[in-house]
């Protein structure tokens, strides 16, 4: 099946003994989800390697270790639903169905990248695929989501807007303003906080007076739930509840995916604020291996099928890299072409 089509399998083959969150997902959906998790992991590793080899400049924010949060949250969305993403947004973009080749071309600053090389890693958008853009400003997408929700309502559509943000963004005023307006107007928005424990170097436990980001939902009279962000079926189950509620007119929800980034904040990070032991603990909770182990235990896929899924994803990213490397650079004479629409 096409990795970019999260279609529902007509004949679910849930096995006995599965927990409800897993049993709710048919095998076709799980195959697509696992494929996308591998695509994200490979994409990030390829981006990092390309940077190390001097093939690209700038910086990047890698989401290795957070794949279940991105893919699980987006799993219940339709292609015509919207997402708004963050500076650590490659995973959201792939999860929503973007073409990794066009993403890598953008990362390489090429004319045929998603943003014609004008945006780069922090500003990848896939408008046709419903991704209204990553954002270089912490919390930048939160107020925009309010307007998308208003727009959906005013155009009498049954779409949903899902906005991603990190734990650090929840201390921005934009978080408060956006959740308040979404709630008073009952807008079809799902707020997904990817709590990876650190806002750059600041431990969220030192930056927030309540134990969970999800606790903050009570201030806006909306459901708030904290889930294991490395557990794809758990994330998907929480997201489905929130997406269904939003689509049916029940208003917004806040989901907190507790997860961890394996890499530093960006390329300047020397990991002075955390220990190797802490990183190792989280690496043992690799969201991809956790899912594969569970799927194999319940007979959804055998070892050969799992290996084939990973290999196919690796092949796709390898082809994407070749595409990016061979793509043309933008023409400097076209520098100001898209400053204004005409």
């Amino acid at each position: 099946m096409d990795a970019r089509t999260l279609s529902v399998d007509p004949q679910p083959v849930a096995q006995a003994g599965e927990r409800p969150e897993l049993a709710a997902l048919d095998t076709g959906t799980l195959r697509a989800a696992l494929t996308r998790m591998h695509l994200i992991r490979r994409f990030e590793e390829t981006a990092e390697a390309s940077y190390m080899r001097g093939l690209i400049h700038g910086t990047m924010h890698l989401s290795i270790g957070q794949e279940a949060s991105a893919v699980g949250s987006i799993l219940p969305l339709r292609r015509d639903d919207y997402i708004l993403s963050t500076h650590r947004g490659h995973g959201h973009c792939i999860a929503k169905g973007a073409d990794p080749a066009l993403m890598l071309a953008e990362f390489f600053g090429k004319e045929n990248g998603y943003c014609r090389g004008r945006g780069g890693s922090m500003h990848i958008a896939d408008i046709e695929g419903g991704n209204l853009g990553a954002n270089g400003i912490v919390g930048g997408g939160l107020p925009i989501a309010v307007g998308v929700g208003m727009s959906i309502r005013m155009q009498k559509q049954d779409r949903v807007c899902m906005v991603f943000f990190g734990d650090g963004a929840t201390n921005e005023g934009a978080f408060h303003e956006a959740l308040n307006m979404a709630s008073i107007w009952k807008l079809p928005i799902v707020f997904v906080c990817e709590n990876n424990k650190y806002g750059m170097s600041m431990d969220i436990a030192l930056a927030m007076a309540v134990p969970n980001v999800a606790d903050r939902a009570s201030a806006y009279a909306m459901p708030g739930v904290a889930v294991d962000g490395n557990d794809l079926p758990a994330v998907a189950a929480a997201a489905k509840l929130a997406v269904d509620r939003a689509r049916e007119g029940g208003g917004p929800s806040l989901i907190e995916c507790k997860t961890y980034r394996w890499r530093g904040h960006s390329k300047s990070d020397r990991n002075l604020y955390r220990t190797k032991e802490e990183i190792d603990v989280w690496r043992k909770r690799d969201p991809i291996r956790l899912l594969e182990t569970e799927l194999a235990a319940h007979g959804r896929f055998d070892a050969a099928e799992l290996a084939a899924i990973e290999k196919a994803a690796a092949g796709e990213i390898e082809a994407a890299l070749e595409f990016a490397k061979s793509s043309p650079d933008p023409d400097p004479s076209q520098l100001t072409r898209d400053v204004y629409a005409s």
């Binding site: 943003c115 090389g117 958008a125 408008i127 307007g147 929700g149 956006a178 204004y340």
Partner: protein, 342 residues
């Protein structure tokens, strides 16, 4: 005389205040296009802090004239999100000073989204900002911040001086596929003028010669246009023939009209309410200095009249002394044209 300023037949026009003209423009835009809506603090039941929206809530209902919480950042972001997904939002920032709370969304998001996304999205939003001094509201309710936004590629900035232009520039802004900021002047809301009843557009980026003259060019915008015209009448009594240009748009700026006038008069006074230092007068003077023909046409140094390097004070005498008045323009232009004291 440009076509849009030609006097239509009396039957097709009426005398409206600047505020009424804006209201009529808003109503006509909402009647013509279901995507247009007005939102902001106290724009509904209250009718707007300066009475601009008036009865629009009664006429269009609470889904299109939306009272909002006091959340300028969130509101600016909501305008971005709605514009990005098919709506034509018009946001009123109650006092232009409060736009400082919304800078992130206007400068980082609205202005840059089209460019950063490689021209694949547009943000057709309008922000209305009542600005200027003269109401005794002191330092945080009296500023003229338009030059800040004229510094940002991706934004358009206009400053109507008449009821005619207030309506025509609003309708042009709503049609425009880019973010447009309209700096209205609080002292102008009650000024009256002839306004065509039918919808019409005043082109963004076109200045207008309000008074033709041979001896000195006075470039102004917003309320300074009225003061410049009054000063020009007094100058005429002394035999000095001043040409008065109303900029109407700051970004894009119509340098061709300024250049044509300065080539003729050889003398230039630029008058604006914003702080003089690093203001729009500096840009206009620099463009004149950079243009070989226009620079060589100068018979005297350029004069800038702008706001003092001071916050707007409360005391009415001090407040008037902070920004250019008619007598300041008269004195400066007379001196420049060689009249009075040398």
């Amino acid at each position: 005389m440009p076509a849009e300023l030609a006097a239509p037949s009396v039957a097709d026009t009426k005398e409206l205040s600047y505020a009424e003209a804006i209201r009529e423009g808003l109503a006509q835009a909402m009647e013509a296009d279901p995507r247009v809506f007005l939102f902001g603090e106290d724009v509904g039941v209250y009718g707007g802090a300066f009475g601009v929206s008036g009865d629009l809530l009664k006429r269009f209902g609470p889904e299109r004239v939306i009272d909002t919480p006091i959340s300028e950042l969130g509101l600016a972001g909501a305008a971005v999100g709605a514009a990005l997904t098919g709506m034509r939002p018009v946001l009123e920032i109650q006092f232009s000073d409060f736009v400082t709370l919304a800078m992130e969304q206007i400068v980082n998001q609205a202005a840059k989204i089209r460019f950063m996304f490689g021209g694949k999205a547009s943000v057709p939003m309008v922000v209305r900002l009542p600005g200027g001094s003269g109401t005794g509201a002191a330092g945080q309710h009296s500023q003229s911040l338009e030059a800040w936004f004229a510094h940002v590629p991706g934004l358009k900035v206009v400053q109507p001086s008449t009821p005619h232009d207030a309506k025509g520039l609003l309708l042009a802004a709503i049609d425009d596929p880019n973010p447009v900021l309209i700096f209205e002047h609080k002292l102008l809301y009650k000024t009256k003028g002839t306004v065509p009843s039918a919808p019409y557009r005043v082109p963004i980026g076109k200045a207008v010669v309000r008074r033709e003259g041979r001896d000195v060019t006075i470039v102004a915008a917003s309320i300074m246009t009225l003061r410049a015209l009054a000063a020009a009448e007094r100058l005429a009594q002394e035999g000095i023939d001043a040409e008065v240009i109303d900029l109407r748009s700051l970004r894009p700026i119509d340098f061709a009209t300024i250049a044509g006038s300065v080539r003729k008069t050889g003398r230039l006074v630029v008058v604006y309410e914003g702080v003089k230092t690093m203001g729009i007068g500096a840009e206009i003077a620099a463009q004149v200095a950079e243009d070989d023909d226009v620079f060589r046409a100068l018979k005297a140094p350029i004069v800038r009249l702008g706001g003092a390097d001071s916050p707007i004070p409360y005391n009415p005498v001090l407040e008037k002394a902070t920004v250019p008045q008619e007598s300041d323009i008269f004195t400066a232009a007379r001196k420049l044209a060689g009249g009075g004291e040398r």
